[in-house]
């Protein structure tokens, strides 16, 4: 019997008296361990947070103070004007709105196409189902960058260059999402569909009244996951929005801010905080769903 199995199999009362002192010593030991653990945690947290902290501090300083050496560790006289400059001159208000619109279209569109497709693959029978499902899965092997050349041409030919349609429609389906939701649907009891059918539920009603509520955690995870992807997109919005301020997203807005406010670093940094804030808030609220979405492929 291997050592760890033995330790597991031994009930507490079977431990000889001499060894029974051990837990007490260990508890004391554990107190120091906890302190050491907190120190390690805090040191690492500091390393992760320093870039964000310094950015917040610098965004609140006058430009001449940022270049001051050594740099101040705390904004004694915080100057919030960089935020209003980034918002108005950097046009970030508009860009945030554009990002919100594009992200909403992508997330809701993805959820709708994915719900129907996953339902079809999980509950319905039709010829070539397996082949079609493999076709869906194969899209995961084609990185978007690989389709860039022709997609740009297609969007231009359709007259969608510089429009929300061009920004969002190429992303309205997801192979990964279909796979994830189909798995969730397949976990539902088999006779559920049959019972609902006898109650007169059609497929659409069954999908939205029964299957969707029962798989809500997976759907939520998928929604948060695609939100993150859509909000943080960079390459496609860059090539498809050209010089059009009216639909440019906040990520591209940051590039523009960096180029135009080069001598006002506090404004650029205020802009990054503005751009990061919505998602940081979202992370705090939806951490569980986000973690579930991000690890769906890794752990069962």
């Amino acid at each position: 019997m291997p050592a760890e199995e033995f330790a597991l199999a031994t009930p507490a009362h079977a431990i000889p008296p001499a060894a029974r002192l051990h837990p007490k010593r260990m508890r004391k030991h554990r107190g120091w361990r906890a302190v050491a653990n907190y120190l390690a945690l805090s040191a690492l947290a500091l390393i992760v947070l320093i870039p964000l902290y310094v950015t917040v501090v610098n965004s609140l300083l006058q430009p001449n103070l940022i270049a001051h050496q050594p740099p101040p560790l705390f904004p004694v006289h915080p100057d919030w004007s960089a935020y209003s400059t980034a918002w108005s001159e950097g046009n970030l208000g508009v860009y945030l709105r554009n990002s919100a619109i594009a992200t909403t279209i992508i997330v809701s569109g993805q959820l709708i196409t994915t719900l129907f497709a996953a339902y079809s693959f999980a509950f319905l029978e039709f010829p070539f189902k397996r082949t079609l499902f493999i076709l869906f899965l194969s899209t995961m092997m084609i990185p978007f960058e690989v389709t860039l050349v022709t997609n740009l041409a297609t969007i231009t030919d359709l007259g969608w260059y510089n429009t929300f349609a061009g920004l969002t429609i190429p992303f309205l389906a997801t192979g990964f999402g279909t796979f994830l939701l189909r798995q969730a649907f397949l976990q539902l009891p088999k006779d559920l569909r049959e019972a609902a059918r006898l109650d007169g539920y059609g497929h659409v009603r069954f999908l939205f009244r029964v299957a969707l509520p029962l798989t809500r955690p997976t759907v939520a995870a998928l929604a948060v996951f695609s939100f993150l992807g859509a909000w943080n997109q960079y390459l496609w919005p860059l090539v498809v929005t050209g010089d059009n301020n009216a639909i440019r997203t906040v990520q591209i807005g940051l590039k523009q801010l960096q180029a135009t406010q080069a001598n006002q670093i506090n404004v650029t940094l205020a802009g990054t905080i503005i751009a990061a804030a919505p998602l940081l808030i979202l992370l705090i609220i939806f951490q569980k769903q986000l973690v579930r979405g991000l690890t769906a492929g890794a752990v069962k």
Binding site: E4, A34, L41, L44, A45, V48, P51, L52, V54, T55, N58, I66, A67, P70, P71, I112, T114, F116, L124, E125, F126, K129, T139, M140, I142, P143, E145, V146, T147, L148, V149, N151, A153, T154, P170, L172, A173, T174, L228, Y234, V239, Q251, L254, K255, L257, T268, L269, T272, A276, L279, L280, L282, L283, Q287, L290, V291, L294, T295, A298, V299
Partner: protein, 309 residues
């Protein structure tokens, strides 16, 4: 024999066939929207690459491109610019992936104990997952700025400055990428650690296994499927890095050796002289690199499933 006895089964069969046909129609209708998007924006542009790769874009605008067969493919793949781009991509991946994964694992192991307030630390460790590459690039670009940056103040100030230095630009961009990927790496590693049974770790502790031997002999082997998954995901996403390069080194990328494949593709789409043919050859190369990795992963996962049985 009555009439009903003969008609009955066949009529029932007809009803069943009708219902099956209806179900198939609904099935197709339900997958149609997603399939349409995939056909138009994934399969068609993917396959179109193989055609475009055979046509050479004319250097003069308004002149049609010319069929040159595999000539262009050979020309691009043997060009020094492609070889440099490929080298940059691989070097960049080698810098980003192992360090990123190890740091993520370190954070996950340290945050694994059930301590009071651990939730706050977990949120902090995950926080970079919501920062985009653009945000990370701007933040670190400021850090590395020769005038106002924190790094030069700490004494890390080569001439020419970090982001204008052919030796240092790629590692600098790699650091930005590592920081930005830390949150995801932590989240995946934590999820993996949670699947390691606590009693196994406790038993090892009771048996007097040191922290380092517990790490190497218990955690790492039990975590190997997740580590492998994370490795493949991280490598594929490193291959696709673009935003941080565009923002930090931009049009100097070729000179600074930061022109990874995705950036090279971008230059051939939007640069001064767009060249769809070359961009297509590069896209196919990027696809083949990704495919190889995915296939390795699939094979590994298959083997793991067999072991589990």
């Amino acid at each position: 024999m009555t009439v009903e006895a003969i008609v009955g089964p066949s009529a029932r069969r007809r009803v069943r066939r009708k219902r099956r046909r209806r179900e198939a129609l609904i099935g197709y209708a339900f997958i149609l929207p997603a399939l349409f998007v995939f056909c138009l924006f994934t399969f068609y542009p993917f396959l179109h690459n193989f055609k475009l790769a055979l046509y050479q874009t004319s250097p003069y605008p308004n002149e049609p491109s010319k069929f040159v067969g595999l000539h262009q493919v050979g020309q691009v793949l043997s060009s020094t610019q492609f070889l440099q781009s490929l080298t940059s991509t691989i070097l960049f991946t080698l810098m980003v992936v192992p360090i990123g994964l190890m740091l993520g694992l370190l954070l996950a192991v340290v945050a694994h104990r059930k301590l009071k307030g651990i939730g706050i630390y977990r949120t902090i460790f995950s926080s970079t997952v919501v920062t985009s590459v653009a945000i990370a690039a701007v933040i670190f670009g400021t850090f590395m700025d020769p005038v106002v940056g924190l790094l030069p103040w700490l004494g890390i100030n080569p001439t020419p400055p970090l982001l204008e230095n052919p030796t240092w630009a790629l590692p600098a961009v790699a650091i930005v990428t590592i920081w930005q990927g830390l949150g995801l790496s932590f989240i995946i590693m934590s999820a993996g650690l949670q699947s390691v049974p606590d009693d196994v770790l406790e038993a090892a502790e009771v048996d007097g296994a040191s922290p380092s031997s517990r790490f190497w002999h218990i955690i790492v082997p039990l975590l190997s499927p997740i580590l492998f998954f994370a490795l493949v995901i991280a490598t594929i996403s490193a291959f696709q890095s673009f935003g941080q390069i565009d923002l930090l080194t931009g049009s100097n990328s070729a000179y600074l050796h930061t022109d990874v494949l995705t950036y090279f593709i971008y230059q051939n789409i939007q640069g001064q002289a767009p060249n769809p043919g070359v961009a297509s050859v590069l896209s196919i190369a990027l696809f083949l690199m990704t495919l190889t990795l995915t296939l390795i992963q699939l094979r590994y996962v298959e083997r793991r499933v067999q072991y589990a049985r």
